[in-house]
Structures are given as C-alpha cells and as structure tokens.
C-alpha cells in the first residue's frame, strides 16, 4: 500500500492524526513508565551502585568486568543452549497439539484445558517441589525407566543432565504458545480452505498452502517472543535450583545470575550492565529474525 502518493495528502494527514490519538496511551506509558527506568538502568550500568548508597560513576568498568567474568560466560552458554533447544522444541509441540486439537475431536475443550493446566502454575513456589516428583531420583521418569530395568540418573542433581530437565520444564509449559496458535488457526478464513478444496487440493496440500502460510505471522510471533522470553527465564530456574543455578552452575541462566548479582550481592550497577548486554544480544537476534521474516512470513495485509 505504498501507492497512496500525494493524491491522499489530506487523507494522510487525517490518518496521521488518528494514529497519534490511538497511540496516545502508549506514548504516555513510554515516557512516564517505561523509558525513565530504562534510561536509569542504562545510566546505572556505568556506575557502582549497591542500592544502599548513591551510585558512583565508574565509566566502562562494568562492561570491562563482563569480559573477565567467567561465570557470566558460563551463564551465556547455558542460556544459549537452553534457548536454542527449548524454543524450537516447545514451538513444535505447541503447534502439533494445536493442529491436533483444532477441530474434529471429541472432548476438545477438555484436552485443551488439561494441556494448558501446567502453564497455569507459572512460577509458583510449588513448581520446584513438583518438578522433583517428576525428575527426582525416585521421580516419575526414573520409575518409568525402572520398568525396563534402567536405572536413571538424578536428572536434577547431576550437572550433566540438570539443564535437560530445565529445558523439559520449559517445554512442559507449552500451553501458552498452543493457545496463541489455536487462536491463529481460528482466524484463517474458511473460504480459503473451500477454494483450495474446490481446486482439488488434498488435506496435506491445504495444510501446506493455506494453513502454514496463514499461520506464519503467529509462528513468527511465538518464535520472537519465545527467544526473548527464554533469554529472560528466571522463575523456573530459580525454584528448581533453589536460586543457585546449581549444581555446579549447570542451570545458571543469565537472568538468574543477573538477579543474584543485583539483589544477592547488591551489585546493581553490574547487573544493569548485564541487562544491557542481554538487550544487545536479544536485540540482534530479534533483528535477524525480522530480517529473515520477509522471506517466509506471509501477511494478508500485503505489506
């Protein structure tokens, strides 16, 4: 729709005015609520700040410290693994179940609710305890393996497997992505399927040529947000490891480390610098995502 041209200049002005009115709450929110703290944290990232006394300007020292901080590097590695394994896995599971639960099955509402239930628990204190019942040494997984005579490891306790259990915990809460996919599926106009059926397209072809393209904006959304959120995952890792990121830092997610620096050690200046490193990393990933989205995401609005 770039052909509006000068023919519409009065209309364009009207459009602009409407847009600014619609955007008014957001602008107010950005200025009053979001941008201030955001810039404050940017400022604090150049200071030594322990929350208990005024911040002291230290220039780039926090950023230099990040280069030397081996735990930070470890946390980045753990978080990257966590993100790049769990996000695709979770999206695949969520999409598959959304397709399965979309239509044509009895008891849809029931299944949908059951699958969404774990996501309702969120980061409740109970999650850590419950997760131990699944992945503990005497937990469900090992009881199941025991049926085949396999003695499973202590999934949570072993530094080699703890991250796996955390990834599965993330996948376990696929309910939110599933719900978004379901909503997206319902928004695909019926007439597209009818037209495809008239053209003699099989179910599989309908899926490939109607469902997938029409769902790409939502897949894209879930992917972008999945990456952003999993880089920020905190609560689950906190409740499972008791806040330590242990054993042996094997589940030290970036946000967990940031939190313990900020509130455990009262290194708020350093934590702010860490936050901005995270913003840069996630920002680059998101930009890459947007860049490549032009090749595969299909918008009905034609832009």
């Amino acid at each position: 729709m770039t052909k509006t041209g000068r023919r519409m200049s009065a209309a364009a002005r009207q459009e602009e005015r409407a847009a600014w009115m619609l955007m008014a709450p957001w602008f107010l929110g950005v200025v009053a609520v979001t941008l201030g703290p955001l810039l404050a944290s940017l400022y604090l990232s150049f200071t030594d700040y322990n929350l208990l006394s005024a911040p002291e300007w230290v220039g780039l020292e926090n950023y230099a410290e990040m280069l030397r901080d081996t735990r930070l590097h470890k946390a980045l590695a753990v978080t990257a693994t966590y993100t790049f394994v769990s996000v695709p896995l979770m999206l695949a599971v969520a999409l598959a179940l959304a397709m399965l639960l979309n239509r044509g099955i009895k008891g849809l509402a029931f299944y949908r609710s059951v699958y969404y239930l774990p996501s309702l628990l969120g980061g409740s204190v109970a999650v850590g305890v419950l997760w131990r019942q699944v992945f503990g040494i005497e937990g469900l997984v090992n009881q199941f393996l025991g049926l085949f005579g396999i003695e499973g490891p202590g999934w949570i306790a072993n530094p080699d497997t703890a991250l796996i259990s955390l990834i599965l915990l993330h996948v376990w809460t696929f309910g939110s992505s599933m719900v978004i996919f379901l909503a997206g599926l319902r928004q695909i106009p019926e007439h597209l399927y009818e037209a495809a059926a008239l053209d003699g397209a099989s179910k599989r072809e309908q899926f490939r040529h109607v469902t997938v393209p029409m769902l790409t904006p939502i897949i894209f959304f879930n992917m972008v947000l999945g990456i952003i959120n999993s880089f920020q995952t905190f609560t689950q890792a906190f409740v499972v490891s008791g806040g330590t990121g242990g054993p042996s830092d094997s589940t030290l997610l970036y946000s967990l480390y940031l939190y313990s620096e900020a509130f455990g050690r009262l290194h708020m200046g350093y934590a702010s610098a860490m936050a901005w490193l995270l913003v840069v990393i996630v920002g680059v990933l998101t930009a890459i995502n947007f860049y490549f989205s032009k090749r595969w995401v299909f918008y009905s609005d034609g832009n």
């Binding site: 009053a32 941008l35 201030g36 703290p37 810039l39 404050a40 940017l42 400022y43 200071t47 322990n50 929350l51 208990l52 006394s53 005024a54 911040p55 002291e56 300007w57 850590g128 305890v129 131990r132 503990g136 040494i137 490891p153 202590g154 949570i156 306790a157 072993n158 530094p159 499972v240 490891s241 008791g242 806040g243 330590t244 242990g246 054993p247 042996s248 830092d249 313990s260 900020a262 509130f263 455990g264 050690r265 009262l266 708020m268």
Partner: protein, 429 residues
Amino acid sequence: MKPLISRIGAATLASAMSVSLLAACSSGDDGDGVTLRYFWWGSDARHAYTQEILERFEELHPDINVEPEFTSWDDYWNKLSTSAAAQDLPDVMQVVDPLMYPYIENGQLLDLNTVADAAHLERYSESTLSLSTVDDGVYAVPGGVSGFSVAIAPEAFAEAGVEIPDESTWDWDDYIETAAAISAANPDMAGSDIPMFSQVATVWLRQHGENWWSPDGSDLAFTPETLAGYWDWVIRLRDSGGTPSVETMVEAHGAGSSAAQSLLALHKVAMNPALATNQLGELEETSGGAAQLMIYPGESDAQVTGSFVKPGLFYAASAATEHPEEAAMLLDFLNSAEAIELQKFDRGVPVDPAVVEAVSGDLTETELAVADYNARVTALGPEPLPIPNANAGGAMDELYDRINIDVLFDRLTPEEAAQQFYDGLKAEL
C-alpha cells in the same frame, strides 16, 4: 552524578534517584500517635505469633501503632534492598549476618548506642553483640541464639544395632565409621548426610585454629591446606559407603534447607551433620520420632573449640527512622519475656537468661533439648565468630556451594577446590 541523570531526561527518575527527603515519610505520625513499620521474614506460624506480640506491645503503648510487614526468606532481601533504594526502609527490621553488613557499612542502620536506654543494651553480653558491633557502633540486637549441630535419630541407631557415640570423645574418623556401620547394618538407610553447607567446614577450621575471616573481617584467616583437609574428610565419608549417593545429596540440597524435606526427616539417613537447631521441632514433627543433638566430633583432640552458637537473627532499626526511641522500645520488647512466651524458641534461644528462666515452665522437651545443646557448646568455651567481610561475606555461600559440589562429583580434587575457593573469596574482598 545528578546533572548527568537529569540530562538523561526522565523527570520521574531524576528526582527519584537523587537523595530525597520526601520519601522517608510514609511512616509518619498519624494523629498524635506514632506509627512504626516492622518487617520480618518467616513462615506462617511465625507471622501469626509475631502479630500477637505486636498487639501486646500496642496494648502496653497505646500511643504506638505497629504496622506488620512480612514475607519469606527468599523474598525478604530483595524487598528490603529495594525499599532502601527508595529511602523507605521500615523502622524496625529483622536482619542477619552476613547480609546485614552492607546495610551497616552504608549507614542504613541506626547505631543503638544513641538509644541505649530505650533499647536496654545492658541486657546483652558483649559476646552476643560481637557480630553486630562494627567500629564501636551497635547496629542490631540478637533475636535468639541458634546454631548448627549433628542431629541423629536414636531409633535408627537402635534398629541398626549401632551404639550412639559419646559426643565428648568422638573424632572425625569415628563419625565415618559410625555412618558406615549404620549403612552396613540397614540396607534401607544410609548412615549420614554428606555435609552440603559450609557450617561443618567452619567447625573444622576452628578446631585447627583458623577461621574464614580475620577478627576485623578485612582478610581471610584460613589456609587452603586446612580446607583441603576438610574436603579430604568429606571424600572419605562419601567413599565409606556411609552416605547416600552424591546425586541424592545434591537433589535434597537443591530442595532447600527445610527440615521437613531433609533426609533425616524422610528416614533415609540416621545422622545430619548440619541441622539448624531452631528447626529441631519441625524435624521431629515430620519424621515422627525424636532426634538428638550432638556436639561436633573432634572437640576432645582439638586445641581450640570448633563448635559454636551464634545469634540466628538480629533486630535492627533504620537510621532514617523518625522515631528512634519508640523503635528501640520495640526492639527491646521483642526480646522480653512477654514476647518470648508467644514466640518460644522459634527465633532461637533468648539471649537473656532471665527471659529463659521466666518462660522455662512451659517449654517443650524439644525446646529444652535445644537450650541444653547451646549450654553444652557454651561450656566448651568457644571463641565468638569473627565478623565476615562486608563484600566477600555475601559471596561465600554461593562459592562454597558450587565448589563443594564440584568436589563431590570429582570435578576438583580437595587441594584444587581449596585453592580455588581461597582465591575466589580473596578476589571478592
């Protein structure tokens, strides 16, 4: 720094981050009375009786109104530091070492010498105040003495046919042998937990005449060699067959220090080498059997006593409180016989012997056992613990936890671990 922030814009923030006089007055006067905010951590039982204590205080002082604020340990410190950042600390708060030192160092806590009469500082002995005294200022009063102990399940010993060792003579090898004997006699139970926290190492170092910190907290006062010796002992314990698997231990450790989830409460081990004594009641309740507190091994051979008791928590007042006298009165009341009647030993054994005496009539056997353990430790004449370093103190637990697990999984030898720990802690000073 101020012009810079304002340059950044964000008018809301600019005024907020700079020191402001406005913020501290949320606990202002209401009417002619005085309102105090008191903030503590604990579980539901503690929240309930503490509010009763505050009601009694208000009855005694009708002109003072106390607003309770409470949360759990996990949330307490981030909430406290956030309110400190907004110059909005509660008037009275519960604190503990080592996390309280940054607050002291940064002038957030009131020097109680300025209100010594209202706080009745004379009730506290020098040794119970040693951890909260910094540069002659007294910044907190102890809420109760607590400590760590070897807790054992006598029933499990009887079942395994193993004799309970004599606490006045046993040494560290006896500990391993006892643990191994129980494991050997009972296939469903291991002898002892592997210690996961640093307390047992504290005892070990002290028995060798060392400490984590030098007396003024400015430096480390232990040698990597001694610490390596401790981890060596841990490895021998692990390899004796007298403990659950390392994975079981790490899993139980990750569940937190709640006594209800401890392996001793679950009847999976017969000895726990680091039970916080104020949790004895919960332990007995959930395990359904009595437990016995024992002095640490090795005391009879050691030149210096390793076992220790110390205040398990403290009460402090905010330096910015508008009502220091009233705050001090509340601090004092929290340690009064009237308060302890309701509180019992949940916050540790009261430091004032007169108060213990006053409530001794209605103490349970469990509470008497804790008081008795404290008395036995005190009889050994332990030196008070040095004050942890204000910077490195907060880093120690995390570092210890990580390196200890590396040792248990054979990722580090005791020597490497001790050196790494020493260097890591030194770097934080």
